[in-house]
Structure formats: C-alpha cells, structure tokens
C-alpha cells in the first residue's frame, strides 16, 4: 500500500515537473518512479515517514498556524535588526519536549528553527537546546503553544 502511494507520488511529481505528455516521456517517468521506489525499498526507506505532506491534519491545521507565527516573529526580528540600539539578549534554554515520535520531534525542532529568532541546537526526546535572539524569545519556546500543537498532531493521520 505504502509502496503504491510512494510510486504515485513520484510519478505525479515527474508529470508536474515535466509538463510534456508525449508517450515516451510519460513512460520514462513511470520507469523512473518505479526505479526510485525500488531503490528506496532496498534502502528500507519506504514507510509512513516518507509522506509528511499526506498528513492532512498537519497540512491544514498546523501549517497555517506556523506561517502566522513565522510572520509574527519575522516582524519582531526585523524590528530588532532595524533598531539603532540593536536590543538583543542572546539566550540558551533547555527544556523537555512533549513529543514522543521521531516525526513529532523533528516537526517541533524544525518549527522552532523556521520561526526567525529561535534556533534548535540539540534535539533529543529528553531535551531540546534552543538559542534565542532575545531572552523573551528563547523562554517563549519553553512549554509553548507550538509544543502542545505538535504533540497533538502525533498519532493523527
């Protein structure tokens, strides 16, 4: 089942990038998709984790919220950079994330890094180490709404 989904994903990706629908190129796309899925299977890489975009709840509930957060903190960093006094207070914080699955932990760590002003340095199930441009920004990552939202996504299809 997952193999078929992986093939369809690869093939649609080829068709969208190519945009030329001659029999030869469509067949070549199908052949390439089969080859890629075959190699990925040999490397034991075809599993549910290969389909982050197929997790619909992530796409439609979490991403819009994340984009809003990126805009908000992007604007905060912009104001700091343009401020003549440059009011930075770089801070490291350590905290324990709520997520228990690898996908959840990666989503949380990447979300922290994507929002300007905070970068995940270490990401383990026991502890995240986050560098923040300001003290408030860094402490804002501890027990955050983001933490709860990503944890709520875990286990959802």
């Amino acid at each position: 089942m997952v193999v078929v989904a992986a093939f369809v994903l690869q093939f649609v990706f080829w068709l969208l990038l190519s945009g030329v629908f001659t029999p030869f190129l469509v067949a070549a796309g199908a052949g390439s998709a089969i080859a890629v899925v075959w190699f990925a299977r040999r490397m034991d890489m075809v599993d549910v984790e290969s389909f982050p975009l197929v997790m619909w709840r992530t796409t439609f509930h979490y991403w819009p919220w994340l984009l809003k957060e990126i805009c908000k903190s992007g604007w905060t960093v912009t104001r700091i950079v343009l401020d003549p006094k440059l009011p930075v207070s770089p801070t490291l914080v350590r905290f324990r994330p709520l997520q228990r699955t690898p996908v959840g932990l990666v989503t949380h760590a990447n979300s922290i890094t994507l929002t300007p002003g905070t970068i995940t340095i270490e990401a383990t199930p026991e502890e995240f180490l986050v560098h923040g441009l300001t003290r408030d920004g860094a402490h804002g990552c501890v027990d955050s709404e983001m933490d709860r939202r990503v944890a709520a996504l875990e286990g959802a299809p």
């Binding site: 990038l17 982050p52 950079v81 930075v88 770089p90 970068i119």
Partner: protein
Amino acid sequence: MTVGAQLVVDVASWALLLAGGFFSVVGALGLLRLPDFFTRMHGASVTDTLGAGLILLGLVLQAGLTLVAVKLLFLAIFIFFASPAATHALVKAALARGVKPQLAPEDPTSKP
C-alpha cells in the same frame, strides 16, 4: 482575464515581491549588524523564510494557474523543509568546532 483583474493581480504580486525584497535586505542587514555567529543565523532566517516566501508567492501570482506556479510552490515547500535542516547542521558544526555563543547576562527574575 479582464484588464481590471489583471491589474489587481499585478498590484498584489508587486506588493508581495517588494515586501519579500524588503525582508531579504533586512536579513542581510541583520547578518552584518548582529554581534556573533549564532545571532547572525537569526538574521539570515528572516531572508529564507519571509524573504523567500513572499518573493515566491509574488511570482506564483505572476505565473497564474500554470505548471510554473506548481514548480514555484514545490520550491517553497523544499525551502521550508531544507532550510531548518541546513541551519541546524551549521549551528551544530560551529558548536563542535568550539564557537561559543555570546550570551546576555542571566536575568534572575525571568527563570523559566
């Protein structure tokens, strides 16, 4: 598309392109002004999220409903998955080579 609708799309896409350009310049300015390696990464992240995102969105409006728009959206998705991984790798490499972050003095009143 009518001339009026085309004008609205053009204005919107130019607004997005200009905003994206503005945030890219801010990111570059941050890269120059901020004090150390780690804080400079924060400046750069404005460029590769807001800067790249808004410019790609403006270009999607210019492309209309075509395969070019689909490719631009793929580009946005890849940037959003790859750039945090690259940032993370860069920061870990810096720490492993012994670059110490300059930290603000601890403020005892705002412990987590």
